[in-house]
Symmetry: C2
Subunit: 513 residues, 2 copies
């Protein structure tokens, strides 16, 4: 036991004892009460223990949103093992890189991702690969059929312990594994409840992937609050609208493009009667993933949809700053005010600036990551005296409302996914013909932004942009692939040679196809 | 800054910034928004700083429930000074004892308690005495008229810091000052919100004295949640019923005798139409202060009054275990299940016992006191490895519901106030004629219980019970005064000479008047 840490009774156990029969989870096929989820988590924990999984081990999970994903999350808590949620959109090479970097010992997968997991195991024979399902490949370790081991499972949660390591890219080429502690999850859940209110009969719709912090944190809130979660494997606007109407969903987490599609589908369903409303049971639409377009906010206001905009990041365990629905139009463009446990500062040249002046956004508090796994230098760079340098630019108005001017000067947000230019540039530079590469975002009506790339070639090398596009397709997750790659004579740089990504769009005028 | 502690942005400041115009407090005469309460607390903090009050100083407060009480509580937070709330029902001697024991430097009082404070100052000239009001005695330090000092007020709350020292009697003769940290208040507020739900438009009626933990914790919840508090200076069933109807009160904290009077008044108002209901806005009646009589619970059930029974104590920062309304009759006599942050164990002879077996109730978690101020021995006796020995007996049923069999074997609960026999016995023993004294509770239809006393006299001394009653009247708060004092030949003791308080009632048969 860590004498300075706080230990809480296991969250799922507490909910299962307080409300055994209450709905905990529901997916397309199955509903589980808290008592059933508790039983399943204990069963899986014992199965994992029986194959030797121990505390502190890093267990990667490659699976679609579903009941077995949630079971696995809670089972690992009872073992003190660390969850590494894998982004299913990544390529095999990207996944192998993360698995090696995090030193994962076990890769768990569901049926949907069995083939992908199989390929990874070929490349990384040191990692054990196992399915979460009953129907398993013969030559794999079959979790669901193991005899349950008689191990002592943890009944207390140490708030200082690591729950998950979640990869997030930065301004450097490779993603870094942000440490997510149980305390971050707890304090974020409490900050959110104090802000949004907490009702025992709440029902949260999760249609964001669980491998992102916005999805994973819903699972934690479910057991901390003792509330129901409806799980959608993929976002489908029609299915979401149906769930809001028929399942009495009270809260939903979305990004702008999803909300726009929901409204379009809503109007289409009702014969294009623009302005159709949701039932009053929907009390909060938590809108993350970058600034929301004004027409969308105005549309929501006219339909009395309670949109709570939020500025969050993996390192802050999702939401850090939110804007109340009543302020949505009064404070247009603002991300709102910090959650109760969060301190916020704007610094310019290391000095805190006054209201109205812009600078880099810094965050501090118990919802903020203690650092990146195995990356002391990157940790020291991002965190000084507990203050997280977000890399994002913004300012506070006189009432303390945050306006985010720019997500990390170069961050591209495409359909709610963060796309980091440096990662795409590093990939392009690995091609023998490419001497320099620069990536920036281009406005897109469907995705908000898409990445586009500019490259200079080595003298005496030639390659077509089509060949480079193919090269990228093999190496990058689809959402990171440049919409176009332009071969140019020179990239814009400042006097010290630093790439000026903001100047890249001008090159479109001189691009050589 | 303490590196292992958690710091949160000042709770009142956060609420004032998020909801400046929302109602924070309302008493008989005045309503304050959060912005106004924030302004008043800052003003009083600066005034106190201007007369030299510093961090860590113990500031005693002798005042009735009211706006200035609340202002003072939050002002002390901004100075890092420690609140010592005084029970206004105590005698001057009892108050002087506590002020000396806690080493208070300043005694703040309101108009109502000015005369009492004046007398105390005569007895304790080393303590500065000051009024919270504008209309003050000339020879006193007048807080409200001081120039505000330009000091730096605290903007962060250290959860490990002491907020208050609250006196509570134990099995020993003298009360002990239980340390109440900010963390205890925070975690208790969060545990309560997770249990009862949290709504931004909640309104809590406070008609319990703020010098008890049940009252003080409402003030903390108000600023942590950002919700309104209606303050009643004294409990008045008619006024409470009016507030529930007219002020849209959603939560009220009461003890059984108060609730019974509220129902009686409710029926009387409506022409004795037994079974009159409260409006549905009243969503929680938090019922503390000992077990509730079954007829009262059945009456509440028939009126659909959502009664949440609770087992709490000062050392646990009020509620520790609560029973949901839906379980009130199914689990009759139970105190319910622990709040989310609370661990509970039943020990017998140092061993944890199984469901159904009784023993002493132990509690652990971030809502539990770290100890008694200046009392390392009492602290070591009460707390082992963070587990608080409550002194109360109980058992858990197979579903983990707590049944409290006996509040500390000898505790008397009279009208919601804890009365400790040892304290009354010590007072009686201070009389020259009294050789032995024993005190126990006697059932009382109005107060639940009242104390009665038995004494043996020194040979060659005589005194009448009337004279002893007078002696007690001068030395004990009214609620602690024995209803009757019986002079007997011998007190029941076990073989090792320990007083058997449970056997005392039998002496009524042989009492000599």
């Amino acid at each position: 036991m860590n004498p300075t840490s706080i230990y809480l009774p296991d969250w799922l156990t507490h909910s299962a004892q307080n409300h055994p029969d209450q709905l905990a989870l529901k997916d397309q096929h199955t509903s589980w009460s808290f008592a059933e989820l508790d039983r399943q988590a204990t069963r899986m924990a014992r199965q994992l223990a029986s194959v030797g999984i121990q505390a502190e081990e890093r267990i990667a999970l490659l699976a679609a949103n579903g009941l077995s994903y949630v079971t696995c999350v809670h089972a690992l808590t009872r073992l003190g093992a660390i969850l590494v949620p894998l982004n299913t959109r990544l390529t095999r090479d990207e996944l192998c890189w993360q698995l090696r970097d995090v030193r994962a010992t076990l890769l768990l997968h569901d049926d949907t991702w069995a083939a992908q997991a199989h390929e990874i195991q070929q490349a990384l024979p040191e990692i054990i690969c196992a399915t979460l399902e009953e129907q398993a490949y013969e030559d794999e370790l079959i979790i669901a059929q193991q005899v349950e081991a008689a191990v002592t499972l943890r009944t207390l949660i140490d708030l200082d312990a690591t729950q998950a390591i979640m990869y997030t890219s930065g301004t450097t080429g490779h993603p870094k594994g942000a440490i997510i502690t149980y305390g971050m999850q707890w304090w974020n859940a409490i900050g959110s409840a104090l802000n949004l209110g907490h009702r025992g009969d709440d029902c949260w719709l999760a249609c964001m992937p669980f491998f992102h912090i916005g999805g994973l944190s819903i699972l934690m809130r479910s057991v901390i609050y003792g509330i129901s979660v409806i799980i959608h494997q993929k976002f489908d606007a029609l299915a979401v609208n149906r769930a809001i109407r028929e399942e009495r969903v009270t809260i939903i987490s979305v990004v702008a493009i999803m909300l726009q599609r929901m409204l379009n589908a809503l109007d289409a369903e009702t014969g294009n009667a623009h302005g159709t409303q949701y039932p009053a049971t929907l009390r909060c639409v938590l809108l993350g993933g970058g600034p929301a377009p004004q027409p969308l906010l105005e549309d929501c206001a006219s339909r009395a949809i309670p949109v709570v905009q939020t500025y969050g990041l993996t390192e802050a365990c999702s939401q850090a700053v939110t804007l109340a629905p009543e302020d949505a139009l009064r404070k247009l463009g603002s991300a709102g005010r910090p959650l109760a446990p969060v301190q916020l500062r704007i610094l310019h040249d290391g000095q805190e600036v006054l209201a109205g002046a812009s600078g880099e956004i810094f965050l501090k508090g118990p919802t903020i990551t203690p650092g990146y796994a195995g990356q002391p230098e990157a940790t020291a760079q991002a965190l000084r005296d507990g203050w997280l340098a977000t890399g994002d630019l913004g300012y506070l108005d006189s009432e303390g409302y945050l306006y985010v001017l720019d997500r990390r000067s170069d961050l591209i947000i495409s359909g709610g996914e963060n796309v980091y230019p440096a990662e795409i540039e590093a990939m392009l530079l690995s091609h023998p013909a490419v001497a320099e590469a620069g990536v920036c975002g281009q406005g897109d009506t469907q995705w908000g932004q898409v990445p586009i790339a500019f490259v200079c070639l080595h003298t005496q090398h030639t390659v077509t942009s089509t060949a480079l596009m193919e090269y990228a397709t093999q190496r990058l997750a689809r959402y990171k692939q440049p919409r176009s790659i332009h071969i140019v004579a020179q990239l814009p740089r400042n006097s010290s040679g630093k790439l000026l990504r903001r100047e890249l769009p001008k090159l479109l005028l001189e691009a050589q196809y």
